[in-house]
């Protein structure tokens, strides 16, 4: 599954308070796989590509900044396949932010940047003599991809939309796949998080990738959550073991509904229990976020462009907040979703009452 690039990407780093750039730093082999997966799924959504999990080639190339010109990069171009006939998908340069941070961390050790000092960057690209690809090793073992079908299920998206209501719409983007989650599942994960107390908990999301009969577009139906068995819980982490995944796959087979894993869920306990009220006000840990380990888990196990991560954050006196994350342009970002199965009715029933906040935001213990 080689992703080829005839260019090396570098970042020109400038401290936020500085006028002059500190210099440029090379980005070593950025991981473009999520971006390629996202680009491929966009083509499946428009019926321009087969409904299989993409396991083919891709090409990365810079899209030059029109004002600054070469070598400054306005966005990253991802092309599915290597034939050059597919159109370029544009990925924002924010995609490489973590690569830049990692590359610039060396300058902290050298004293050129202070630890935690904010900086801005511009992306530049130079032609490379070394095309990055997965070279064959000397073991004599060859690998070839086996395309796996996406197992799309035919559904009426309009009916799904009518029977659900939008949540976290402010986190939505026009390019996002529609995702619908039953209210009962959201309630279940909140109950699991409550029961876990000061420990983290985890589980998997089960459902299906559906194709709308009318438009042909894709959407995701979450139909169940399964608490992770054989996992290890601690106050600052939850380990999904190999047995956890095997157990989840066996459970899905037993359900016999033609479903698949569509994501995972976990909780963050109240990290700020011992902090002052003033500290809590500015603490980012009180907001839903995915840690580096969360993102790495998602990349390792849930790299398909439609995979989801559901998070329950204990905000202490402010209750628990449920947030959904998913891939967008290859970046793992918070996103909107729709809630089905009683959410609309329940909201209507409590409208104007003191219970409204509890019913609409899934906050408990407030």
């Amino acid at each position: 599954m080689p992703i080829l690039s005839r260019y090396e990407f570098w970042a020109e780093v400038t401290p936020v308070d500085g006028a002059e750039p500190l210099g440029t730093v090379p980005l070593r082999r950025p991981d473009f796989e999520p971006a390629l997966q996202w680009a491929y799924l966009q083509r499946v959504r428009r019926a321009l590509a087969p409904a299989v999990m993409h396991c083919g080639d891709g090409v990365v190339e810079p899209v030059w900044d029109e004002e600054l010109g070469r070598p400054f990069v306005e966005s990253i171009g991802i092309r599915v396949g290597t034939s050059g006939v597919t159109p370029l998908s544009r990925i924002p340069i924010a995609y490489l932010r973590k690569s830049v941070e990692m590359a610039a961390s060396g300058w902290v050790a050298e004293g050129r940047l202070a630890a935690g000092e904010p900086f801005r960057y511009r992306l530049v690209a130079h032609a490379s003599s070394d095309e990055s690809s997965m070279a064959e090793d000397e073991s004599g073992i060859t690998a070839e991809p086996i395309p796996q079908p996406l197992d799309l299920q035919e559904r009426e998206m309009a009916a799904v939309v009518d029977a659900s209501e939008a949540r976290d719409a402010e986190w939505s983007d026009d390019t996002d796949l529609l995702v619908v989650i039953p209210l009962t599942i959201l309630e279940e994960v909140v109950v699991l998080a409550e029961a876990a107390g000061e420990l983290e908990m985890g589980g998997v999301l089960v459902g299906g990738l559906c194709r709308d009969r009318a438009s042909g577009d894709l959407f995701v139906e979450v139909r169940a959550q399964l608490p992770a068995r054989h996992g290890c819980a601690a106050s600052d982490r939850f380990t999904f073991t190999a047995e956890t995944w095997a157990d989840a796959r066996a459970a899905i087979a037993l359900r016999g509904e033609g479903e698949c894993l569509v994501g995972w869920h976990h909780s963050h306990p109240f990290f700020c229990r011992r902090c002052s009220v003033e500290s809590r006000l500015r603490c980012p840990l009180l907001r839903p976020f995915l840690s580096e380990h969360d993102e790495s888990l998602h990349r390792t196990v849930f790299g398909r462009a439609f995979d989801l991560a559901l998070l329950v954050t204990d905000r202490g006196p402010d209750g628990r907040e449920v947030a959904l994350f998913g891939w967008r342009h290859g970046l793992l970002l918070r996103r909107g979703y729709r809630v089905s199965g009683g959410a609309v009715e329940r909201t209507a029933a409590v409208e104007g009452s003191a219970e409204r906040d509890d019913a609409t935001s899934f906050r408990r213990g407030a």
Binding site: G140, E200, R237, F240, A242, C260, H266, G303
Partner: protein
């Protein structure tokens, strides 16, 4: 043993499915898993640089394959394995060792 076999390897969600040809029968399951994970392009270390551990299960029997077993003893030509990682969620910055905010 001296012969080679073909093995199909898939990850948790089947996003990555590959056919490995020419796997030496005397190679251990651990070496096979390392090869499969590398060819799939999966991350092999966590953000702290600690290696992820992967284990293999026989796709049909569900049996866990031990890393020290020779491939030729536990897999026949063309059989399928699933490689499953052990991965941590969480580890929030500032937690555990004291909050920095």
């Amino acid at each position: 043993m001296g012969y080679r076999i073909s093995v199909e390897a898939l990850d948790v969600t089947s996003q990555h499915a590959i056919r490995l040809r020419g796997v030496p029968a005397e190679q251990t399951v651990g070496e096979l898993v390392t090869t499969a994970v590398g060819r799939m392009g999966l991350p092999t270390v966590d953000p702290a640089g600690r290696p992820y551990s992967f284990m293999a299960r026989h796709e049909v029997t569900g049996e866990a394959l031990f890393v020290s077993q020779p491939v030729g003893d536990v897999l026949k030509d063309g059989e399928r394995i699933r490689v499953l990682p052990s991965v941590d969620a969480g580890r929030a910055p500032g937690s555990g060792a004291g909050c920095r905010f």
